[in-house]
């Protein structure tokens, strides 16, 4: 097994490869997500139909012509799935990215500085957490303007206080560790202490939280698209397809399978990858062969 994570570029590639060879779960999850990315890029080559072209062949079951059947407007479900993939991936990344960008620094600042700064930031976090998430997202989307990116920024803003609260408490725990005192005693500047000691030791639960949030963002995208605030029709996204299929649950339940299972698998892949990453980054669990 790799003894120390090397920081040279070739070393990093080699160590990632050897990690994937040892960790089947990580390899599977990464493979699935990679396949989604490739499908997104190569959508016109993979899908034989247009995702927005309507026909009279409505709610058709899967067949040779339409691999996953057609939806309520006679559009090819497979094509919509393929074209919807980048929307879903992009949506979850934007939401979590915004959440991290806002939540991490504020939470870490509050935890590290303590005192008044902490009190003020914590009260703001509490205030934001007091809003029901979807209402807040709708309000923010309303303010920013309708569209997938804005909707996902709104979801990110809803995520931010959760991340901030988590990293704050982690920072408080880690900053009181003796090795932080030791680092201070040999004159390490605050920036170094945060980057070398606090971030690596506080980030673990965040990684897990991020994977959960990526999955959550997929569903939030679905909700917002359902409300007409996200992806604009006729362009597809998985969440929107699921929401649409849901209205035909009684006459054509199979409408929900394709987007539902895709969302489920993607969420699982995010989770599995996060869990593997967490184990990988923890030296105490890595000593086990």
């Amino acid at each position: 097994m790799a003894s120390t994570p090397d920081i040279t570029p070739q070393g990093a590639t080699a160590s990632v490869l050897s990690w994937l060879r040892r960790d089947l779960r990580a390899a599977l999850c990464l493979g699935y997500l990679l396949a989604l990315v490739i499908a997104s890029v190569a959508a016109p080559l993979i899908a034989q139909h247009s995702p927005i072209e309507q026909s009279m062949d409505m709610l058709a079951p899967p067949s040779g012509a339409h691999w996953l059947g057609t939806d309520d407007l006679g559009r090819d479900v497979f094509a919509r799935m393929v074209y919807g993939a980048p929307m879903s991936l992009y949506a979850s990344m934007v939401a979590v990215g915004v959440g991290l960008a806002l939540g991490l620094p504020t939470g870490m600042l509050a935890g590290y500085l303590g005192g008044r700064v902490d009190t003020v930031i914590s009260r703001i976090i509490d205030t934001l957490l007091a809003f029901p998430g979807i209402i807040l997202a709708v309000a923010v989307t309303g303010a920013l303007g309708i569209g997938l990116t804005n909707a996902m920024i709104a979801v990110g803003i809803v995520f931010a206080p959760n991340i901030a609260r988590l990293i704050r408490i982690q920072t408080i725990v880690v900053k009181n560790e003796l090795y932080v005192d030791a680092a201070r005693s040999f004159g390490m500047p605050v920036r170094g202490i945060i980057l070398r000691h606090i971030v690596p030791n506080a980030i673990q639960p965040i990684i897990v939280q991020v994977t959960v949030m990526l999955a959550g963002a997929l569903l939030a995208e679905a909700s917002l698209s359902f409300l007409g605030l996200g992806v604009q029709p006729p362009w597809p996204s998985w969440g929107q397809m699921l929401a649409r299929g849901y209205t035909y649950m009684e006459i054509a339940p199979e409408q929900m399978y394709a987007p539902g299972i895709a969302i489920l698998l993607t969420a699982l892949a995010y989770n599995g990858l996060g869990e593997s990453l967490r184990t990988r980054l923890d030296p105490t669990s890595r000593s086990r062969r």
Partner: protein, 326 residues
């Protein structure tokens, strides 16, 4: 190195204040080993942390070679404080679990930015060898080492920046007795080799007795007795020192032990609300009216031997009490 009337207070909420260290003045001469003993909660660790600038004195000044480190600018303080290192009680918590031993030991050099990466690696490896950690430990993580090995790593790390003073804050208390002796010997050797000054903080009088030049006894945030080490054992002048000395375990069967263990009654009073006058009076067998009324000052009763007790000259003559320990 000296402290002048240093007090360290911590707010504990609702406007209450905990005085961990109260008006302590000590002086540590270059090259000596200064032992500081006291029970848990006496403020001895806080003094140690204040000396390496991990706590800021609420009052009074710390002087490093006549200079007040807190008067320096932040960047100067960072450079200056490398001269003053600390070794903690718990070597496990003092090493970042996500760093290899080599990286932890090299870290002070990385911060100082001295020399090339290879030079720093070499210096860290040299020090690992010096403290008795083979090269094989370089790429291991702290959880793969024993307590003694981790403490050796901490010692090596403190030495990388060539400090002049090292505070050993209960540095051997968490270790096995057999390992304790090894580490103490190592520290003694390193003192010779690098010309180090030690502030040795412990609750175990047996540990400091042999290696210290001067010993100070702390009780509830104050120094109550300070004397040359060879003097203190027999010529102690404070009832608390007597109790502390008699509490030292003796390696003899119970029948052969000298029968003069003094068991203090009660608990250490709260440092948030210390007793009036002499702080030890609530647990002292010799306390009289004056002890509650007036706080005793440190008085020099013999060359280099100071104590803070109103009855320092007389309490050992009390015929009702057995003579103290040897």
């Amino acid at each position: 190195m000296s402290t002048r009337n240093v007090s360290v207070r911590f707010p504990v909420g609702r406007g209450r204040v905990l005085t961990a260290v109260d008006d302590v003045s000590i002086e540590i001469r270059r090259g000596e080993t200064f032992g500081l003993i006291g029970e848990s909660g006496s403020g001895k660790s806080t003094i140690g942390r204040a000396i390496v600038c991990l706590e800021r004195p609420s009052e009074g000044t710390i002087l490093h070679d006549g200079r007040d480190p807190h008067a320096l600018r932040a960047s100067e303080l960072r450079r200056h404080r490398r001269q003053y290192q600390i070794i903690f009680q718990d070597p496990n918590a003092a090493l970042d679990p996500r760093m290899t031993i080599l990286k932890s030991i090299r870290e002070p050099l990385d911060v100082a930015g001295e020399g090339s990466r290879a030079d720093r690696d070499q210096r860290a490896r040299d020090l690992m060898n010096r403290v008795g950690l083979g090269e094989g430990f370089a790429d291991l993580y702290p959880h793969q080492l024993s307590g003694g090995q981790k403490q050796r790593a901490c010692i090596a790390r403190a030495l990388t920046v060539r400090p002049s003073l090292i505070v050993c804050d209960e540095a051997v208390a968490a270790l096995d007795v057999s390992i304790q002796a090894d580490i103490l010997n190592l520290l003694a050797e390193l003192q010779q080799e690098f010309g180090l000054t030690y502030l040795f903080i412990t609750h175990n009088i047996g540990v400091v007795e042999h290696i210290s030049d001067t010993i100070a006894v702390m009780y509830l945030g104050q120094i109550i007795e300070i004397a040359p080490a060879d003097r203190l054992a027999e010529h102690f002048l404070h009832p608390y020192t007597q109790a502390l000395l008699s509490a030292e375990p003796v390696a003899l069967p119970s029948g052969m032990r000298p029968d003069h263990r003094i068991v203090l009654e009660g608990e250490l009073p709260s440092p948030m609300d210390p007793p009036s006058g002499c702080r030890f009076r609530t647990r002292c067998r010799f306390a009289t009216g004056i002890c509650a009324a007036e706080a005793p000052k440190l008085r020099e009763l013999a060359p280099g031997h100071r104590t803070a007790c109103h009855h320092a000259e007389t309490f050992r003559l009390d015929p009702n009490l057995k003579e103290g320990s040897q």
